[in-house]
């Protein structure tokens, strides 16, 4: 078994119909996709379905990806589209809560726990989780892209339809907000 290959190498091999590489690629990225959707969506509702949808789209269209180097930001586009689609769907259902709904937000820490072991949560982790989820959406999105996905400012600007200066300013302000709310844990 060949393991510990870079994502880029797995993409190159998978594009040549190496199905073992494809399997390894899916296994390698699925956690990040799941976590990204979880923190974008702010609750566990439908995250499994959305993750599967993203992975299926990824496998289906992998052959159309021109540059394996761009894989991460390409996958991010797929994930973001699925997230925005889910918001649009929710907006058509009046019985659903809106994204910024406070009551729903306060339930979130307890809702984690199906796939994620509750026991590993320290007080500090709970607080960090709460403060990330508490960020306004345009701040939360750039922080997820930067600190979780490791995208560059340029990739984030493309993904959010903004420019470099906006990305730079949003990341800085989001960090400042987090720094203030988490100063007891730093």
């Amino acid at each position: 078994m060949q393991t510990y290959k870079s994502v880029e190498q797995l993409v190159v091999n998978a594009q040549k119909n190496d199905y073992k590489a494809l399997e390894e690629l899916v296994k390698k990225v699925q956690r990040k996709v799941y976590t990204t959707l979880l923190y974008l969506n702010k609750s566990e509702d439908n995250i499994s379905d959305m993750t599967q949808e993203a992975l299926i789209k990824m496998v289906k269209s992998l052959s159309s990806l021109k540059s394996p180097k761009a894989f991460n930001s390409w996958l991010n586009h797929i994930v973001m589209n699925i997230f925005y689609d889910s918001i649009r769907k929710k907006q058509h259902k009046p019985e659903m809560y809106s994204i910024e709904d406070d009551d729903r937000f306060h339930q979130i820490p307890d809702k984690f726990g199906l796939p994620i072991d509750k026991a590993i949560y320290s007080e500090a982790d709970k607080k960090i989780q709460k403060e990330i989820l508490n960020l306004p959406e345009h701040f939360r999105v750039v922080i997820i892209m930067r600190e979780l996905q490791g995208l560059s400012y340029e990739e984030i600007a493309n993904a959010t339809n903004t420019n470099l200066n906006t990305v730079k300013s949003r990341i800085a302000r989001a960090r400042e907000k987090l720094q203030i709310s988490l100063k007891n844990y730093i």
């Binding site: 899916v26 499994s48 796939p115 072991d117 600190e147 979780l148 560059s152 720094q179 844990y185 730093i186």
Partner: protein, 156 residues
């Protein structure tokens, strides 16, 4: 124009975004005459400068500055205490969040690979052809064989 209206325009005045030379001139003159507005103007410039500093420190942490700007920030961090403290705070918050996310990621135990390859009809290609039907067929043949043999031998 009164002072409150002037104050609202100062941000655009500083960034040269008024696009109105007469208004620009009017505000310049007002700032020379009015202490209150001038003080507000200076505070606003400080605030904007501070925001700019925080932005460049944050971008410096991400290695997203041009080499020239990056050298400048590095110099400031070394020579200026406020700068250094801001740098330390932002670096710490960045690694705190990064570590938190990687812990979260690591704790996702769900494995969707089998499910999605099945949905995509790729299971055979990924996992190889399943031998299950063949194995069942062999057992069935053996069973029937034994049954016939039993009947033949004991003549039931």
């Amino acid at each position: 124009m009164n002072c409150e209206q002037i104050k609202k325009l100062l941000y655009f005045y500083i960034y040269d975004e008024l696009n109105n030379p007469e208004l620009d001139e009017y505000i310049s003159l007002h700032l020379e005459e009015c202490d209150e507005c001038y003080e507000f103007y200076e505070d606003l410039i400080d605030e904007i400068q501070e925001n700019k500093n925080i932005e460049s420190i944050s971008a410096y942490i991400d290695n997203e500055l041009s080499s020239k700007d990056s050298i400048q920030v590095k110099k400031n961090i070394i020579s200026n205490k406020n700068f250094r403290e801001e740098f330390e705070k932002l670096s710490e918050v960045s690694s705190l969040i990064k570590n938190f996310f990687s812990k979260q990621e690591y704790n996702v135990k769900n494995d969707y690979s089998k499910l999605i390859f099945r949905k995509l009809d790729l299971a055979e290609k990924v996992y190889g052809k399943s031998l299950f039907p063949e194995i069942v067929a062999i057992f069935v043949v053996i069973f029937i064989g034994l049954f016939i043999a039993t009947v033949a031998i004991f003549g039931i």
